[in-house]
Symmetry: C2
Subunit: 312 residues, 2 copies
């Protein structure tokens, strides 16, 4: 990655779909993933090995993993909660896993029913197995810029957890702004500290647009040096704490912003919009992406004009 290029980590098939009430069948999930890869994404989170009791949307992740055609140069990531999930992931030939835990005690307790220390221990065991199997590990640290239960989260705590996870065998960190609580200077300062501590290639920003700050925070993170960004096509995702609220940053909006700044993502914006259009047509998900809404409404208006002309 050069100074003026970024890497987009597409989380739509996992973080996007797991928070939608609509459940896609395996055929559609596989097609969505393959379309995203065709459009140029080189990192894709294809699903989650969390127990289906908790996330029914992801119950068929093994089958998805087995059926997706793997392309050279693309990393296919599966979300894994613990050793049991890791074993399911390994059976499905997963070579790249993502793990998650929260920086705030209350959120971690609510989310995985463990204290932060218990989560660190639990992941240590999983990492040992993963490392032995040569699996690459990405570690999400959630609530990095704010917690729905505790409010502010000291960033020292975020860094300490990240450091422990890397020491235990994780290859990289993704700072998760779970409820989109961050604001630009906060994200900028956190990004700088994380880059200084772990190096630019080991820190990703997993921002959410829940409170409308998504892209402004991404800009601030970019200015601080971050070059890996998590996004979701069409901005699927929603917020588990406030049904109806926004979720991930739209892949197409992130790329549109970087295109305008002369920053290369290796992905064609218009092809992302095509995939968003496919998701829109094939599912009942309302895509919150403003860029998608704008371009698709514009096309519809133009089609109507054509039609009017044709019948006039």
């Amino acid at each position: 990655m050069g100074e003026d290029s970024v890497r987009i980590f597409e989380v739509g098939p996992r973080d996007g779909l797991q928070n939608e009430s609509v459940i896609l069948d395996v055929d559609r999930k596989v097609e969505m993933i393959e379309r995203l890869v065709e459009m140029g994404v080189r990192d894709i989170e294809f699903g989650s090995f969390v127990h289906p009791k908790w996330i029914p949307q992801m119950a068929d992740t093994e089958e998805v993993a087995r059926r997706v055609t793997r392309r050279e140069g693309v990393r296919y990531w599966g979300l894994v909660p613990n050793l049991v999930g890791l074993e399911r992931a390994l059976e499905a030939n997963t070579t790249h896993i993502a793990t998650f835990m929260s920086a705030s005690e209350t959120h971690n307790q609510h989310n995985v029913n463990r204290t932060v220390d218990e989560s660190l221990d639990c992941l240590k065991t999983a990492y040992e197995t993963a490392n032995a199997e040569d699996v690459t590990i990405r570690a999400y640290v959630s609530t990095a810029f704010g917690c729905p239960y505790e409010g502010d989260v000291p960033f020292d705590r975020v860094l300490a957890i990240a450091e422990t996870l890397l020491a235990q065998g994780a290859d990289m960190i993704a700072l998760g702004d779970t409820i989109g609580a961050g604001t630009p200077h906060q994200v900028r300062d956190g990004a700088r500290r994380a880059i200084e501590a772990f190096g630019v290639d080991r820190v990703a920003m997993h921002l959410h647009d829940t409170q409308g700050m998504g892209l402004a925070n991404a800009l601030a993170a970019y200015q601080a040096g971050i070059r890996i960004f998590d996004t979701s096509v069409g901005a699927t995702g929603g917020c588990p704490y406030a049904p109806g609220a926004a979720g991930n940053i739209a892949t197409e909006e992130m790329i549109h912003m970087f295109d305008g700044m002369g920053v290369d993502s290796g992905i064609d914006r218009d092809r992302v919009l095509e995939v968003a259009g496919w998701v829109d047509r094939e599912t009942d998900i309302d895509l919150p992406s403003k860029l998608y809404q704008y371009t698709s409404q514009l096309e519809a208006a133009e089609d109507q004009t054509e039609e009017t002309r044709a019948t006039a």
Copy 2:
């Protein structure tokens, strides 16, 4: 205004409402304006004196202007298209007017049925009368960062038009990103050039979030030195070129961002959210503001929990 403070120019009652299919009655418009002023806004665009044939949503602007209680220290702005509109504004005791024209020929032609030069001439006449009446003039230059018909708009052209308008008697310029076409570096560069040419107190940013870039562009403009920002409570507005697409930047999201950055706007975020809640309840407008959606869904979820507890 200090280094770390901004001035919010509320356009909801005009730019917001004029693009909604819902038409508010005079009572509600007056109440909306008074609530916005109570929450701390010091600049408010209360309506438009454009002919009702073009903008039926604004047909009763005279009555609104007459009925709104004027508060000391607040500037009440009326949008004026030409000399005829100015005369209506003057009759309604308007002391602050905003005029508009586009930097791109095609948009100006479509919007006001004049060439750019004809618009400059038309506004010259209106400005002479306004200046004689001691009316303060804000001049919008629309399509400053892109045109729905022509695409790119050379910023030299934007600056030249702004310069002419100031020379003809305008007091300040608002750079209008009519279809939210700008991206952060573009907006930053334009902002720097405009500030250098006209001074920071004479340049406002009127950004739209049509393509999802709104707040990222606002951050870039702030970093370039801009201290006056146009917003609309709840992000009402929409886009006349793509029905269903987003409009203005939400006042509450702008203030939320600046609060987090330690930048004073003189306005309390939670009170803006209350006004957004009032608009939500009193009208059929779907408010696109993500912060409003998040906080109101959160409150609804909490109320439901309370209810469940009460009935358990």
